[in-house]
Amino acid sequence: MSTLLEVQGISVTFDGFRAINNLSFEIGLPELRAIIGPNGAGKTTFMDIVTGKTRPDTGTVRWGDMGHSLLALSEAQIAQEGIGRKFQRPTVFEDQTVRDNLQVALKKPRGPLAAIFDKTSSPERARIAEIAEEIGLPDDLNTLAGILSHGQKQWLEIGMLLAQDPKLLLVDEPAAGMTNEEREHTTALLKRLAESHAVVVVEHDMEFVRRLDCRVTVLHEGSVLAEGSLGHVMADERVVEVYLGR
């Protein structure tokens, strides 16, 4: 396992509020990691920094074997480097079909001219069908994404992440709004992905994290409070305190 992403001592302040405070984090390839923490612990801001939406005041974010910095890159460049993100609230293109959503996400050249003269090859068509099967929407390829249920939109967004074929997947609350059965499917999918990818899952639901059965990082007030197996971190008194407010 080699280090894919290395975040070193980052801090970011919004209007005097320290959202991230000297945070360091490392994930290898392949690896599955869960990030937990109470509201306001900095989970989403952390993802914003890694994906280039927010620039940290201090610290470094290094990527890949060469360890080059991501801080100078735009969101689009970072995505092209191989970092995919699934949002907490499912964000799919609602007035486009499931097929179009997957097609836009599919890993291909991203320039305007490439898009204008784009031809969908049959392997790509097959890949889209395969992803649709995986996310349980094989019969909905021509359905507008806007009329899917909340859970189906979650799946579609996961499908778009698969189509993007990133090295690192940042997944924000994938299980929200899903039935128990769907949760099991999600867990299995994430675990399988983690065999060849780096997967970071942000989740509130302890039961879901338990099922993932992976290394857990606990964030609190913008920095890492504890790290290790779920059993290990839950045995930590400070974690119990911030989580249960005792």
């Binding site: 486009q96 097609q103 836009v104 898009a115 021509n142 993007q164």
Partner: protein
Amino acid sequence: MSVFSQNRSVPIFIGILILFALGVTVMSEAYGTGSISTSFTKVLGMTLCLCLAALAMDLVWGYCGILSLGHFAFFGLGGYGFGMWLMTARTEAVVRANLAEGVIPATEAEISDATALQIFSVVGAEDWPWMWAASDNLFLTLVLIVAVPGVLALVFGWFAFRSRVTGVYLSILTQAMTLALSLYLFQNDTGLRGNNGLSGLQNIPGAAEIGQDRISIWFFWASAVALGLTYIGAAWLISGKFGNIIRGIRENEQRVRFLGYRVEAYKLFIFTLTGMLCGVAGALYYPQAGIINPDEIAPIASIYLAVWVAIGGRGRLYGAVIGAAVVSLLSTYFTGGRAPDIDLGMFVIDWVDWWPVLLGVGFVLVTLFAPKGLGGLVDYIIRKPSREDRQ
């Protein structure tokens, strides 16, 4: 062709456009019964040019979500570009004819000087301004008609999109752009004859013996061909992956960024492309109008362009065309003194003054009760083809 199968409006639109153009020709003074006057033929040809500009506006606003309120500036630049060539060539022909009567034949330099004096004496100048350098070269002029609006759109868009200016701030910025350009051109010493503008553009050089009745039909057809080709091109552009991406930008540009697309590049592409299309539309419009002055690119003109697209129905190509055609023709009718005034006894509704009120009320009503615009009515007439039908 997949463009036609994926956009059912394309064959229908092209069919209607051809029938319309043939109908006008058959009823024209030059080639037919004469039931449509030459001046009305020009109005119809100009309307087609406005439809072309509205199509561009629909691409940039209706599909990509960039509410540009400055696209008429590009329209005006296209008009000025072609107008310079028309005016130079026409004036030079007149000057040459006059000087030929002299005993000693005039040199080329003398003809050039006399032409410049003829054109610029109205603003108290007698030399060719630098921006007229290409005005004696038709080929270069045709290139510049597209290139000048394109470069302005590219430079403006590059600064605006790079700084991630969006929404109402971008709209205000584009208004400022067209206002600045208009005010600049209003000055006498900028080289484009100040508030006099360029005139006599209906006179085509080398076609002095050909009457306006025939020229009006030629420009009408040129406008129809430009509109038809643009319609097909636009339908092709939006039917593929590029169309999905720009609609994605309209819906949630941050999401498109996280998929790895450089949103700024796409916005710049569509902004520049539509700027150039507006330049072509303007170049075809003003020879039919006969005159262009800086008032044409006042901020209100670009707002009208957005109003047409909103009334017609943005996000559908035929909506933009319907909106521009209906509203601009109604505007011609009500402000041309043809509409009968309504006498309410103590109060007379004079349509020349009341047309903007009617337009404003119409705009509010469409926004409130038919947010999809006039084009949305088509959904009621025919069942909107679902994606299953198209694929």
